[in-house]
Symmetry: D2
Subunit: 290 residues, 4 copies
């Protein structure tokens, strides 16, 4: 039933002849059985990307051994720090930040509980208490960190507290599941490549506050949601996934909100799953999703 | 925030000249302020359908008074029993039947808890105990009714028990949220027009068991889900809603199951919402969804 | 095979009690058999909209007679100029403006030729000659009006020529099928509510030039197209229809262009069809599409 | 503007360790610059698939030389006949078979004329004359081969004539663009892997005649189209692409036909493009689409 243990390699380097041969040759030399392989070259930047999944039992070393040995290949190909290997045998950890709107949290909890999303939610942190009970009903610690409105020092202290609570889990993903507070630049920096936000519009349309209201005023016929990595530029980070749903003149703002939530939930869940499976490679402000 | 009280009229009758004038004239004569109105005529059967939503406070009588007075109009138009009025001030009740797979139940519970779906889930009934805890965490009674495999009498007794548990709530909807047991004909009859099933395929493709396996074998590029009223013919009842998701050659049966679940959830939730709002009018084996 | 002759009434007025009764009562009094009816009230502006389709043979007067008689009702309901009636027996006329990219024109010509789109294309006007042959092969006059780059007077003269060529057909629709020239304000004014543009992005994302390039740089996962009425504000007119298509990291700008074209074609064709059938009611900068 | 010349390798063999290393090693040894690479292993059949695209100028031999040299690798990997190489410098040829409905033909002709679809349409063959003029306006030979209804011998003779007309072009694709005649088994055999059909339903729903009528009777909420390879089993060949469009109770059969045509056109065009680009690898009754 459960998939066999695998090692996942994600890798980027300047493009040139022979990269695939070098990497697959390395794996073949050690008996590695590749069960998934994806490649992409970005012609604009001449950058090469790959993700390889190898059966753990086919290799004569563990994931640390693979890391050591593959490091030689990576240096040869000038990959510098743009590669990693991880072991699917280690269950990833996520911390979820929420505000009052619970639809994304309910959805994530349901997916974990029903075995659809393979992640340990180590903690849920919120500036409100509305979602404490459901979180704890799933056996997950809930932390309430109030964010005093209009009090810059208080907010900074709150973010420091959030950071402490998050960092003690060293999570693979920090999920802003409709958190509604703009992360300070130093947290964007500290969590770069790990913090995923769900924005309730089809970016770059309707950046910022109240996107469904903006969409209603503009009279669009489709609304969307965007899962992206958090960067210091609001709603401008690398996009992981987007999806949309059709609306019409009969839909009030409340209807847009309701229909949009269905899209927010699946878009965030897909983005998070792909992130955790090492399918998302960031390059500049764009992503490759294998 | 909450919508004002409204009366919803759903109505069908043989088509002829002047029906809209008669109904809207009746409402206007009593000062009724129509806030939603939809009409359809089926040219094949020459059958007329309408759904009207009227502000309660604009009428000088309550829903029972509206029913009495409108009955005269309905008889005039030969509508017989194919019409009803209900009051949005009365919160509808649903009973949910599930088996072991929890994704649809988690989804429904999350929607109710976050205020997206306006229904009282009066009870959850299951042939397994897997979903007891989450149900009770939401403050909803859970009933375990075992279905003995291969024991016709035992099954009949189990269905009798289910029927008793359901009927004592006189629910507006009986939701088969991946119940996996085929309802006997007498229950289909008793719950006609109230029992909604979610089938995990794009019907009429892949009727019956293991539709995702069937889809994988056939090599389809899209899978779907269908919300339909339960009838004595398996998976052949009137379709309320369908939706689909793209798959590809890289998707295993397990991937189809996982992707399909996202579609099952939204398709069931939309179908249930529309049913509860009186948007679904059944005519023969087809539905009008206003 | 062909649908019977019908009169189409589109109507908007301030909302109040009894509008539907008044309009449908008027039609019923004259024996009018309604075959399609749609209603909408915009709660923000308290504006009421309807579209009614009546069998011509069921009324004792022609469309001019209907217009005269219904005018009394319209005045009573303070509709002023926001209503019209037309006769489906009169085939509508369109003039199409194009530049070099032919995909939308090929699509429209194919739809007309295969009987999918019920319109006479009275003329095609272009600032290039690339599409002259295919236009004439369909038996449609083609006019080449050069637009001298960087010559404001020359452009003004060209637009004057275009206007003359268009206006002599008094068309129901002026279709900018990737015309690539910004209409001057006086043409936007003269053709208000009749000039439809297809913009090759999901507005309001990527307004202006080279939207597919902008989309590629931003790394979006979906691209779209928008059919809207032309107004003096570039790409900001009332939206009639939008559609989208999924793209991924493997798609170059050329791939986005190619995939986007499939969406441009159907979005423009749907918008044009709905416009010609009187399904699109404009109110402020939003549309009701019945 | 135009892409540089490339060689495309498509390849399938029993899965084992080291296949990617062997193939990419072969290419690297000769200096081959890979610009696209895709891999898939089917776990059910343990069959490995790949498609590689190499810059022609990076290799020291032409496509025949590549074929000869790679043949050694293919034999080593037990690929037998399940591989090929082709040169993007050779423009592929297609023959299109049509009946009376022209929408797919119009669409294909428009795509070729506007440079979207890189194929020479060598001939159009039809059992009616309706589409002769538009075909010839595009400078393409049109052959009228009448199919006498209810005359088995006459039909056999007609198919023999069609076969002769097709085979003299030795086309890379034989496109049944709503041809409406069931190919005899010997033609399915002769054109195996080259004959693409567009079926106007979401297979396996509504196999056979009048699928839109079947869909209307069943009351589905979505209709679709399927592009598949033609086999001796009617509408049961390997599926290349499917797409769908939403419909509702207001849609007559004619509306389903019209809406469905938009899906037929894009589904066929995508399937044909992928086929011509060597993206479709058939294995049993399923396809891998790279």
């Amino acid at each position: 039933m459960s998939a066999p243990q695998r090692y996942v390699l994600t890798f980027g380097c300047p493009d040139r002849t022979g990269i695939i041969a070098r990497i697959s040759g390395f794996l073949a030399d050690h008996g590695g059985m590749i069960v998934e392989a994806a490649y992409h070259t970005d012609p604009d930047s001449s950058w090469f990307f790959t993700r390889q999944v190898v059966l753990a039992e086919s290799l004569p070393f563990d994931v640390a051994g693979l890391h050591d040995r593959f490091g030689v290949v990576a240096r040869e190909l000038s990959a510098e720090s743009s590669w990693q290997v991880f072991d699917t045998g280690e269950r990833p950890r996520a911390v979820v930040l929420v505000s009052k709107a619970g639809h994304c949290l309910y959805d994530l909890l349901g997916r974990v509980a029903s075995g659809e999303l393979d992640v340990d939610i180590a903690a849920v942190i919120s500036n409100h208490e509305a979602l404490a009970d459901i979180t704890r009903a799933h056996g997950i610690p809930f932390h309430h960190v109030p964010f005093p409105a209009g009090d810059a020092d208080g907010k900074a202290a709150a973010f420091a507290e959030v950071r402490k609570l998050v960092d003690e889990h060293d999570p693979h993903a920090i999920v802003l599941a409709r958190f509604m507070q703009v992360l300070p630049a130093e947290l964007c920096e500290a969590w770069a490549g790990r913090a995923l936000n769900i924005h309730h519009s089809f970016l770059p349309s309707f950046i910022g506050a109240k996107p469904y209201h903006q969409a209603h005023v503009r009279g669009v016929k489709i609304v969307g949601a965007t899962c992206h990595y958090v960067t210091a530029d609001l709603d401008a980070g690398p996009i992981v996934e987007q999806d949309v749903i059709r609306v019409d003149h009969g839909d009030s703002v409340d209807d847009l909100v309701r229909k949009g939530r269905d899209i927010e939930k699946v878009t965030l869940a897909r983005g998070l799953r792909w992130h955790l499976e090492g399918r998302v490679l960031v390059h500049g402000n764009r992503t490759v999703v294998f």
